[in-house]
Structures are given as structure tokens and as C-alpha cells.
């Protein structure tokens, strides 16, 4: 009898704690949904700049298990994990392009390749690389002899990256003002590294060791890892005969953020609109 009583009390206590547990989980769920909606409205489409290969933000937030493998594999430490101040994005990887942009130093989009849950989706890069090789093969056996297939593949892989689009602020841009630049773009204390386009090297050098001399500032154009498909310096001859310049972002822009990192003005005159497509920004 006493034992039966005890089981009854136990059962009652279990039901009670189950009810409390369920209530607390429902509260958490409601809280998450609320933050989700509230933040979505407040941010107005603004998001963190994700590493290359990132799938659409809504899906990214659940596909990312916050393991940090992409953080570890990045040779230039461009990827960081978000803190709790980013709410539901806590623990997910992002790139602060102004501090350290992705300059494709790894040559193989390793961060996407290492991602176990395809939050950074690698298959698109692999396909692009294979397709590029095929294109060369189509030109006949002669064409293959003169090229380095690895390089062809790498270039194609970089080009399909779409993590954002660069946007110019014409009010502060040096070249729009007709100004040049000489010296070290971000000062002698800047920690970021960059793989210079002028060298054939596959190594990234600290930006503070670089010196540039330009009559018209075109650092964002010359240091772009994608090249003339992504950005070019537009030259306009005005009616009065004077010449004006303007860096123009093109459809090939990957959103890697090198232009934002190297821009010598403070704040940067060219910034990445994270997660946006070219048509959304330039329509």
C-alpha cells in the first residue's frame, strides 16, 4: 500500500515536471520565433557576410551546426564565429571584410569543402571547376597542353562565389574626387593580409608591408581577385573636356570584400552588401 502511494506521488511529480518542462520549451520556441520575426523586420534584409558557398540565410541558420571547421581551415583567418550579440546567429561563421576579407588565398574554397552539413555548399564549386576544364578540352588537344588545369579550375571556382555585392559610396571615393593615393592603405598597425595581384605569389602578405603609388586611386580595381569581370575603372570625358573616374562594380562581383578591406578612406568608400544579388543592388 505504502509502495503504491509512493508510485502515485512519483507519477504525479513526473507529470508536474513534464508540464513545467513542456511549458518552458514552448516559451523558448515562442521566444525564438519572436526574435526571428522581430530581427527580420528590424534588419530589413541586412545580414552577416557569410563565407563562400553559403546557402540562403534562412537555411544557413539551421544548416550550420556551429562546429567551426571553416574557421579552422581558413589560411588567413578571415572567418570568425558570431557572438551572442548576433542573437540567433550565435556561433555561426561570418567574415568582417573590413578587418580581413576573403582573398581566395586557399585556392580551393576549403571552407565550403570542409563543411559537413553543406551550409557552405561545395558542389557548385566542384561543378564549375569541372565545367571549365571541359570547355578547354572542347578547344582540342592543343589547348590542354598550354594550360595548367589546376589554375583553370581555381579561377572558375572563385568566379561562381556569390556572398554579396560591392557598393560604392561616390561621395567619399578618392578616384571620383580625382585624387590619387600613395602609401600604405590601412596604416602601419593594420593586421589584415592580402595576396597581391601584381605578384604571381600564392602567399598572402600583411597589407601594412605594401606600398602603393597611384595618380588616381584604383586600389579596389587592381587588387580585386576576380579582375575586370567584377570591377573596372570607368573613365568619363566630360563636356568641358575634363576627365573623371569612377570604379564600376560589374556582374562578376563575388562579394569577397577585398575592395572594402583595401579602401584607404575611413570609413571605406566601397562596402559589401552581404547576401545581396547584383540585380538587387544595381537595378
Amino acid at each position: 500500500m505504502a509502495k503504491e502511494n509512493k508510485t502515485n506521488i512519483n507519477r504525479r511529480q513526473f507529470l508536474k515536471s513534464t508540464a513545467v518542462a513542456t511549458a518552458s520549451m514552448v516559451a523558448i520556441g515562442a521566444g525564438v520565433s519572436f526574435i526571428q520575426k522581430y530581427k527580420h523586420d528590424e534588419n530589413d534584409g541586412k545580414q552577416l557576410l557569410r563565407p563562400p558557398g553559403a546557402i540562403e540565410e534562412d537555411a544557413f541558420l539551421y544548416a550550420c551546426i556551429k562546429c567551426g571547421l571553416c574557421v579552422q581551415i581558413c589560411p588567413i583567418h578571415a572567418i570568425k564565429l558570431a557572438g551572442i550579440n548576433e542573437n540567433l546567429s550565435y556561433g555561426t561563421p561570418y567574415i568582417n571584410a573590413r578587418e580581413q576579407a576573403c582573398d581566395f588565398s586557399c585556392d580551393s574554397i576549403q571552407c565550403a569543402e570542409t563543411c559537413p552539413t553543406a551550409a557552405l555548399y561545395f558542389v557548385q564549386f566542384k561543378e564549375a571547376g569541372l565545367k571549365a576544364i571541359e570547355e578547354v578540352q572542347k578547344q582540342g588537344p592543343e589547348a590542354l597542353k598550354n594550360i595548367n588545369p589546376f589554375k583553370v579550375q581555381v579561377v572558375a571556382m572563385k568566379k561562381v562565389t556569390r556572398i554579396g555585392v560591392a557598393k560604392l559610396n561616390e561621395k567619399t571615393c578618392l578616384s571620383v574626387k580625382g585624387k590619387g593615393f600613395s602609401g600604405t592603405p590601412r596604416g602601419k598597425d593594420f593586421k589584415g593580409v592580402l595576396r597581391p595581384q601584381s605578384k604571381e605569389s600564392r602567399k598572402a602578405y600583411p597589407l601594412r608591408e605594401q606600398n602603393y603609388e597611384r595618380e588616381i586611386c584604383d586600389l579596389c580595381v587592381t587588387e580585386c581577385p576576380i579582375g575586370e569581370e567584377a570591377i573596372k575603372l570607368e573613365k568619363n570625358v566630360n563636356a568641358d573636356g575634363t576627365v573623371s573616374y569612377k570604379p564600376k562594380v560589374l556582374e562578376g562581383c563575388t562579394g569577397c570584400g577585398v575592395c572594402e578591406m583595401i579602401c584607404p578612406t575611413e570609413p571605406a568608400s566601397i562596402v559589401i552588401e552581404a547576401g545581396k544579388k547584383y540585380e538587387e543592388v544595381y537595378s
Partner: protein
């Protein structure tokens, strides 16, 4: 044991002359003092736990490809390992959003490697041998026990079945909100990431849980909430690695239950409860080895089921 609903009758209680201290011709009190200060398995376990977590930290800090990632997903010498509960949540969401076909081969490999590994190691061995939160909670538990002993606070306990309520609840929550809700609250992942990638404000949440465990309910998170532990409990049910209990060496002093992190798993050490000459602990056991260390008669030992019969 009670898993399949059949309850066998307990064996008759041991006679005094059959007790191990009588066989040795020692007073019971002296016999109980045997192995008092043995900490072989505890020291091994703590060394291993610290080693594994340091390996994560060192791999990132020195850029070595030994053990990359964190406890929610990692790569050991190139082999992927994924936290199964995280994977379950992701699968639940994937079913809803049709994301399933995108999952990589590495995901499949990582999931099954770890499930197979812990199915062999058994019980919740992850908890006491790897989990950094467990390490903190062990100290919190000591402090809690001290405060209870000093009558500063009262002990509150709940039903262990609550874990499975949370287990199912967080899966449903993931499905409903399309977010890995539990991973944001998970002190294991938080601590692991904090150690490897640097601390953040979210550590306050871990502090809240620890404080609650100290002042209100012993081992609250591990015992009644953590769905990761619950997952291991399910996976580790049939494992060959276990702690074996031999009735003839037992003096029923129940010191093992005093030190055990999951005392209900040692139900058979009470006089007159054991139903067989040999028992194996169940899947809630964390394989911590406290009982193995403390047992004066060496009645409890780590074993590989089946292997001890061959040898």
C-alpha cells in the same frame, strides 16, 4: 535488467560467513577502509578529458590537423565526427524544408562513426570522459553535497524520465522553428567553442546552469535535461564495454552508490537485491570508474562483455 519488463526474483541475502571481510578475517570497519584513497580511474579519466579538450584547442591554435572543429562537429585526423543530437535536429528540419538531398557524405560518415563508437564504449561514456561541462558539474556537485551536508540548502530531485521529454521536445522545437534551438542553449558546445575560439558573453548562461545545480538541484542539467546525454543513453544500451558486478566479492557497504554519479544504476549492491551472481550496469552509467576505485572488495570492474568468458 528491467528493460524487457521481466523481473527475476532476488537471490537470498548473503550469510555473514560468506561476506568478504569474514573470508579475510578482518573486522568490517577495517575492510571498508580498503582502497579508501584509490583514484586510478578518476585520474585517468580527468587526464583524458583534459587531453581531448586541449587537443581541440592546440589543433586550432597551432594549426595542426589533429582534432579540428569543436564538440558539435569535428574532424579527427581527417575523419568527421558529428554530435548525433545536433544531427537529429538537423534531420528533423531537413525533412520539413527538403534540405535533405544537400547533406554531404561527410555528414553521413561523421554521424555513423560516432554512433558506432559510443555504441561500443557504452552508456554515457562521452559525458564523463569527454564533456567539458561534466567536468565543471563534477565540482559543482561536490560543492552542492557539501552545502547539503552543512544544511545550508535542501536537495531537490526530479524524475530521470524528464530527459526524454526534453529530448523529444527539442526535436519538435527544431522542427517547428527551423532553428537548431538546443545548440544555442547547449553548454557542451558553448564551453567547447569558448575554449577553442575564445570566450563570449554566452558563458553567462553556463554560469546560470552551474549556479542552479549548486544551490537547487544536484546535477540538474545532466540528469534531467541534457538530450545529448539521453541520446548516448539510448545508443549505449547494448554496449559490450561495461562495469561488471560480482556478488561474491561484495560486502554491501554501498560506498559505490555514495560516489556514483547515477546511483540508481547500482541498484544491485544493496543486500538482498541482486538477482544474479553477476550484474552489468545499465546505459545511464557514464563509465566514470568512481565505483571501481572505491570498492573495498574489488567487486566492481571494467569489463568487455563476452571477452571475459573467453579469457
Amino acid at each position: 535488467m528491467k528493460l524487457f519488463g521481466k523481473k527475476s526474483e532476488p537471490l537470498p541475502p548473503k550469510k555473514n560467513e560468506d561476506m568478504p571481510h569474514s573470508k579475510l578475517g578482518m573486522p568490517y570497519k577495517d575492510w571498508m577502509g580498503l582502497n579508501e584513497n584509490r583514484h586510478k580511474w578518476r585520474n585517468r579519466r580527468w587526464a583524458f578529458l583534459i587531453f581531448i579538450n586541449l587537443l581541440f584547442v592546440v589543433s586550432f591554435a597551432l594549426d595542426l590537423s589533429l582534432l579540428e572543429g569543436s564538440l558539435s562537429g569535428s574532424r579527427l585526423l581527417g575523419f568527421y565526427l558529428l554530435d548525433p543530437y545536433n544531427s537529429f535536429q538537423l534531420l528533423a528540419i531537413s525533412v520539413r524544408t527538403e534540405y535533405l538531398p544537400y547533406l554531404t557524405m561527410n555528414f553521413v560518415i561523421g554521424f555513423f562513426t560516432i554512433v558506432i563508437f559510443y555504441a561500443i564504449m557504452g552508456g554515457r561514456s562521452f559525458c564523463s570522459w569527454v564533456c567539458p561541462y561534466h567536468f565543471l558539474a563534477e565540482w559543482a556537485e561536490k560543492l552542492h553535497d557539501y552545502l547539503v551536508k552543512k544544511k545550508k540548502i535542501k536537495e531537490h530531485s526530479f524524475q530521470r524520465g524528464l530527459r526524454y521529454v526534453f529530448w523529444a521536445g527539442f526535436i519538435i522545437l527544431a522542427f517547428a522553428t527551423e532553428r537548431l534551438v538546443f545548440e544555442t542553449l547547449n553548454p557542451v558546445g558553448i564551453l567547447s567553442r569558448a575554449m577553442i575560439y575564445g570566450p563570449g558573453l554566452i558563458l553567462l548562461w553556463v554560469l546560470v546552469i552551474i549556479a542552479f545545480e549548486i544551490v537547487y538541484s544536484k546535477r540538474f542539467w545532466c540528469r534531467y535535461v541534457c538530450p545529448i546525454g539521453a541520446t548516448w543513453s539510448i545508443i549505449g544500451n547494448i554496449s559490450p564495454v561495461a562495469v561488471k558486478f560480482e556478488l561474491d566479492k561484495c560486502g554491501h557497504c554501498r560506498k559505490c552508490q555514495d560516489v556514483c554519479l547515477v546511483p540508481h544504476e547500482l541498484w544491485f549492491v544493496t543486500r538482498g537485491k541482486a538477482t544474479q551472481e553477476k550484474h552489468y550496469v545499465g546505459s545511464d552509467c557514464t563509465r566514470c570508474g568512481y565505483c571501481v576505485d572505491v570498492c573495498p572488495g574489488d567487486a566492481l570492474n571494467f569489463t568487455v562483455k563476452g571477452l571475459d568468458k573467453i579469457l
